[in-house]
Amino acid sequence: MTIESKINGRLHKLSIRSGDRLVDILREDLKIESLLPDCRGGACGRCLVMLDGRLCHACLTPAFKIQGAEISTYELIKNIHEAIAVEEGFLEDNISPCPFCHAVKILAMADLLIKHPLPDTETILGYLELVPCACTDPEIVATTIHKVADQMNRRKFNREK
């Protein structure tokens, strides 16, 4: 079957099989390399994408479900304000996620800041549960995210000294 979907801002026509998973289509047909189909069970979070504005596991998403939908991956999201702020925050606090989870962790944290401009620790940890990689301590990441959110809000309301 053929489906049409907007992926990272561009319209794509894709030929898929009924049992294809979104993660395989994105990686193999569109060569989007930030995604890894590691667990295929929604556990490792290394295939997170934004599907119509909601974070979801591309390994749990049948490819036919993206007909008419909009998909954004790290490749697009890394350029938005929130993702840049998270990258800068990580750099400042010497947080360096491993190559397996770096992209999806930035994606998840950017989505968090879009949806919760001033997130509480519980919400941040809930988002971090999506990418349960041992390379970074969630508590330390949460502290940095609080700082990033605070800075972004100060800038937004012109309260920066």
């Binding site: 049992g19 295929r40 909601r54």
Partner: protein, 276 residues
């Protein structure tokens, strides 16, 4: 691998017609249960799939003074995003324990109720709360108790060629809530079960009481629930032990789950209620 025929209807009526005209077709909303238990490269689907997640008719929310009504394709995140106080607190709490955010973003309330392998997390809560579901086929529409998603033997059941379209949740306040998830983390399987007890205590007496133990099957004794009504919280321990004994014996007759687990949880639950 066999390829499946995928139907993506644009309206609810179209979806119902597809269901009516194709036997053996499976309804897919979020797909988290069907896909989540498979680890092969390709997902194995039944012969036909009707994908209903995008049907707008199934995503509406309405609230009155007495109840909250949500479309069956409302996602779990959608439920959690309802304004504070809209969703009864035990439900909010249990939804937060289902999967992770990514799963809750695609998993739907209807999908959670319609699992035919196993009762998932929401069923015992909604059944205890006397929630109603609207069941539709291409020719009929009716409301039924969520509890009727269990057949006479206690197994999950949904009439063939039908869809759950709406869920009506009464906004009733329970001041005693006890629940325990049993079994491994992740998707519910053979060793998973959920013990749920909701009660309303007024002036030191049991005013409403519901207890369901669910997993591969469901266990509930409505007559015993009635027996507890009006009991004082300082009921003599002998009487409470008597009720516990009836529960234990009744559960032992069903024998679809380890009785010791049920008995221990039951004792913990009653211990908390009658000491509160």
């Amino acid at each position: 691998m066999r390829s499946s025929e995928i139907h993506v209807p644009k309206t609810l009526q179209e979806a119902l017609s597809i269901l009516e005209g194709n036997s053996g077709i499976q309804v897919l909303a979020g797909g988290s249960e069907l896909v989540g238990g498979q680890y092969e490269r390709l997902i194995s689907f039944p012969e036909g799939i009707v994908s209903i997640a995008k049907l707008r008719e199934l995503r509406k929310t309405q609230r009155t003074e007495q109840f909250l009504e949500v479309g069956a394709c409302t996602t779990l995140t959608g439920l959690l995003s309802l304004p504070k106080g809209t969703l009864p607190s035990p439900l909010r709490e249990v939804i937060g324990t289902i999967g992770n955010l990514g799963v809750r973003n695609i998993g739907t309330i209807g999908g959670n109720l319609c699992s035919m392998q196993h009762f998932m997390d929401l069923w015992p809560f909604l059944a205890c709360m006397d929630a109603q579901i609207e069941i539709k086929s291409s020719t009929l529409a009716r409301w039924a108790s969520v509890y009727h998603l269990a057949d006479e033997s206690g197994s999950p059941f949904l009439p063939p060629k039908t869809l759950i379209t709406r869920v009506r949740i009464p906004l009733v306040f329970y001041n005693f809530v006890f629940y325990k998830k049993i079994g491994p983390l992740g998707l519910p399987g053979d060793s998973s079960a959920l013990f749920v007890c909701l009660a309303s205590i007024k002036h030191g007496k049991v005013d409403a009481f519901r207890l369901i133990f669910s997993g591969a099957k469901a266990f509930r004794i409505k007559d015993l629930e009635m027996m507890l009504l009006g009991r004082k919280l300082d009921t003599p321990i002998k009487e409470v032990q008597g009720i516990l004994q009836i529960y234990r014996q009744a559960f032992a007759r069903h024998a679809w789950y380890d009785g010791r687990v049920f008995n221990n949880t039951l004792e913990e639950c009653f211990g908390r209620m009658f000491s509160s």
